[in-house]
Amino acid sequence: MSSVRVLVGTRKGAFILNSDGKRKDWTVNGPFFAGWEIYHLKGSTVDPNRLYASQSSSWSGQVVQRSDDGGATWNPVGNQFAYAGVPGTHQWYDGTPHPWEFKRVWHMEPSLTDPDTVYAGVEDAALFKSADGGATWEELKGLREHGTGPQWQPGAGGMCLHTVILDPSNAKRMYIAISAAGAFRTDDGGETWKPINKGLVSQYIPDPAAEVGHCVHHVAMHKARPDVLFMQKHWDVMRSDNAGDSWHEVSGNLPTDFGFVIDVHAHEPETVFVVPIKSDAEHFVPDGKLRVFRSKTGGNEWEALEKGLPQKDCYVNVLRDAMAVDSLDECGVYFGTSGGQVYASADAGDNWSPLVRDLPGVLSVEVQTLK
């Protein structure tokens, strides 16, 4: 029988939630790495027992942990993230040049073909790759050096490379996103990159349609249709039908199109989930109601999903890496909140229930569907 493993990164440790394929009864294991910020942990699709976790703190910096037994035990691996060459400068908040400085790993993305190969998206924005199970890391410098790097600026949360998407149909193609630079694509395995932000409009930057400078919050893809991308920008929900070459807005009837998470149904490439957040000044759900919005038409037409979610006095946020789906026949959807709840739906969003209510603030949620 299938089972599901939910990997939860929080501000004070990691937790692993397990259930069988019915997804009714859950066990909560953890905290792992108690007291540390766990920005992200994710498992390999090739070897589901191989997990990578980003562990960090303001005191002791960055640690990368690896498990080879599905999270039962962990061992620290390499934590040296050295920018290639002389890293130069990006723009600081006030527009002045600021040296590139490594701060932390925001996102771990295991290879789709090799459990020992994993990518790390880091702050200050850069993409690193390990081909030895995390022991050593090498920057894919073509991204940072492709030309627009000196124009990149940090978003409010830092200048972070937070999204890494590998194209399952093309081993050479990869997408990344940076706050607040935008989205980028490589078609040659990471050697060269280009900005893919045409169609994004951000009123808060000097040139609203600039090539770079957009605060992209997250990007999602359905593996069966890798040229179609969905984006939650700072404001605006966007869609691309040509691998990011151009984007158009699909915010439609959302109550607010500010938000962080976006994800796609495991079996329906036109079914998309977002969690609207009130505004960039008020990072919580509008009207005190926690609602997931689902579009079954690839955007524009959205329905509120609220059964089982708090509908009064709720003021949580859902961060960019804190939503994921399983691939069971009836797609499960999972998300975690800044208030420490992890909610799940075993019927593609129609009904929700909390898997656990009182964790530290949730930074990330990933799901493994195990056979």
Binding site: G35, S60, N79, A82
Partner: protein, 110 residues
């Protein structure tokens, strides 16, 4: 204050680490004893510590520059040695193992 360790080839130095780093290094007990070449300095103690526990590299000192991380502090004999040169010779009581060298996380954050 007398500085110690001159003339001896090595010394056993006790080091006390914050809980987070002890957990990361999978240490049992609150402190570790390290053989450190004389004269005993903070740099040599940390070199010996990272040689024994490679996972601590980068957590007390930055990779590359070797600078003490901003929120990590070093105390010897109830004195803050954080701003001393890493090559300053540590007090005899630390070099001889009578007192531990304390590595602390600064009291900050939430």
């Amino acid at each position: 204050m007398t500085n110690g360790g001159e003339g001896a080839s090595s010394a056993m130095v006790r080091v006390m680490l914050p809980q987070h780093l002890r957990t990361l290094a999978k240490m049992e007990g609150a402190e570790v004893s390290l053989e450190v070449a004389s004269p005993v300095t903070a740099r040599r103690v940390l070199d010996a510590l990272e040689a024994r526990y490679p996972m601590l590299a980068g957590t007390i000192r930055e990779h590359g520059t070797g600078k003490r991380r901003a929120f990590m502090r070093i105390f010897a004999c109830e004195e803050d040695w954080s701003h001393q040169s890493p090559d300053a010779v540590l007090p005899e009581t630390v070099a001889s193992g009578k007192e531990p060298l304390l590595i602390l996380g600064a009291i900050s954050g939430g």
